[in-house]
């Protein structure tokens, strides 16, 4: 290829190619009806189970903060699961690509493999957010017996869920790329997911945690990803909103840096490894 002088691609080209990936992702989403049903089903059942749990707990004792109630806790879970269930499990696809060698093939394409993969997943993410938001949050309203005390939080949830899901997506990508070094990515994902459970307060709000743990959690990307979104169910103070937005922006930036470094390092290993 060194002899020919290929025309430099137009700057819009890369953008259009990326957008094409996103469209592909969206189209593939429409085809998988069974997966939709499964996700929505799980969403509803988990809300049911936890609504019972919180009902029982709150019936037998009260928590200090008047913002907390069984209904509010159900809304908390509805919000965190909204982001989590909408995020495609991109790490599985990446692992499969690396194992099968497809990654090497896609290195030659004009759009970087990672960017293409992310665009595809983002294309799938948006329709999921819409459908799961409508269905899941609607169901939450039924189970929780109405809207949260301070519904303003739900309005802010709309932009925040997009960023939270995006951060999750980026983190899953980083997890997936460890396939370039490790035999099995599953365990890495589980540990990360447990981080989401514990430090992100995926199911149990950080509010219940000992203060020290809560403070530590906010130094990690998990808390803004999940707790920052979920606590909108309790209302939205300016301080909390700023904290969430800033933390999300920070960790998204960090994730992008880590991703590009990781991909460059990993791919170098692939190329020198031959095959």
């Amino acid at each position: 290829m060194s002899g020919a002088t290929a025309a430099a691609p137009s700057p819009g080209h890369a953008l259009r190619a990326t957008f094409a990936f996103a469209q592909l992702g969206a189209r593939q989403e429409r085809a998988g009806f069974a997966a939709w049903a499964g996700r929505l089903g799980f969403y509803c059942v988990i809300l049911l189970i936890f609504s019972r749990l919180w009902d029982v707990i709150f019936a037998e004792r009260l928590l200090d903060d008047p913002r907390f109630s069984a209904s509010a806790f159900v809304w908390y879970l509805a919000l965190t699961e909204w982001a989590t269930l909408s995020t495609p499990q991109i790490w599985m696809d990446i692992e499969a690509d690396v194992r099968s060698g497809d990654v090497a093939q896609r290195l030659c394409r004009p759009v970087s493999y990672v960017v293409g993969k992310l665009a595809e997943a983002a294309g799938a993410l948006l329709p999921r957010l819409v459908v799961l938001g409508g269905g899941g949050l609607g169901f939450a309203a039924i189970v929780a017996g109405g809207l949260p005390q301070d519904p303003r939080g739900l309005v802010w949830a709309i932009p925040i869920v997009v960023f939270a899901a995006l951060l999750q997506l980026l983190s899953f990508t980083i997890v997936g790329l460890t396939a370039l070094w490790l035999d099995e990515v599953g365990p890495v994902y589980w540990i990360w997911q447990k981080g989401m459970f514990l430090l992100g307060g995926l199911m149990v709000p950080l509010a219940i945690y000992p203060d020290v743990v809560r403070e530590v959690a906010w130094w990690t990307p998990f808390a803004p990803m999940l707790n920052g979104l979920g606590r909108l169910a309790f209302g939205a103070t300016t301080e909390e909103l700023v904290q969430t937005f800033v933390a999300l922006a920070f960790w998204i930036a960090v994730a992008c840096v880590v991703l590009s470094w990781q991909f460059r390092r990993g791919v170098r290993g692939l190329e020198t490894g031959g095959g």
Partner: protein, 261 residues
Amino acid sequence: MTSELRFLAALVETNVKACLALRGAFWLQVAGMALNNALFFVMWWILFDRFEEIRGWRLEDMLSLYGVVAAGFGLAVVLGGGIRDLARTISDGDLDPMLTQPRSVVVQAVAGRSLATGWGDFASGVVMVGLSGYLAPDRVPVLILAIVLSASTVVATGVLLGSAAFWASRVESLARMALEYSITFSLYPPTLFHGPMRIVLFTLVPAGFIGYLPASLLREFEWTTLGLAICGVSAYGSVAAFVFGRGPRMYASGSRFGVRV
């Protein structure tokens, strides 16, 4: 009969060998799963630390429930790891070589794979049961019984869910998710529920037979509980065997390139 047993033993031996063939991956999965379970349980620990008891359910009860489910699931996927991806096996046409061999297809499909993570689940499950305080030396046979009951239900559920692939297309991830959900739901204390929800957890989703009943045998052994558990497992097993048995006449095979792992 003995020939069937010898075949089963040989099959299990082969797929455990296959599992161990990738040494690094094996240990990574075992450790990862054990850590995974431990971390998940921390959430419950936090909850119980704050709220001491939930409807009569205490941390020790939660430990024993979780331990039995983890150990049961672990045993199920060590010996019958094929259940996790059964739907995919069917829809990819990977049943072909099993259908041409003179052995039971469901045995080959289920016992033809061993998942390394199962060892991690099993180990962490047993440890949790130990920590719960419900395990006394004379209780060990009961624990074994509970784990076997739980594992059998898991396998039956996996076969039943995976069989959906005989009749529907593109259900591979749904079937796998559904199996994982069944396990998830068996990890919540059933004292939370009453009425219709409770019935669902014992019929549609066999959560009660994977977790609650076997675990309660540990806490307090009662013959009626055992009888109920055995009935439940047998019922699920029969339905699963029946449904899977009707599958092959719908089987459409496939033309993908396949490998046997």
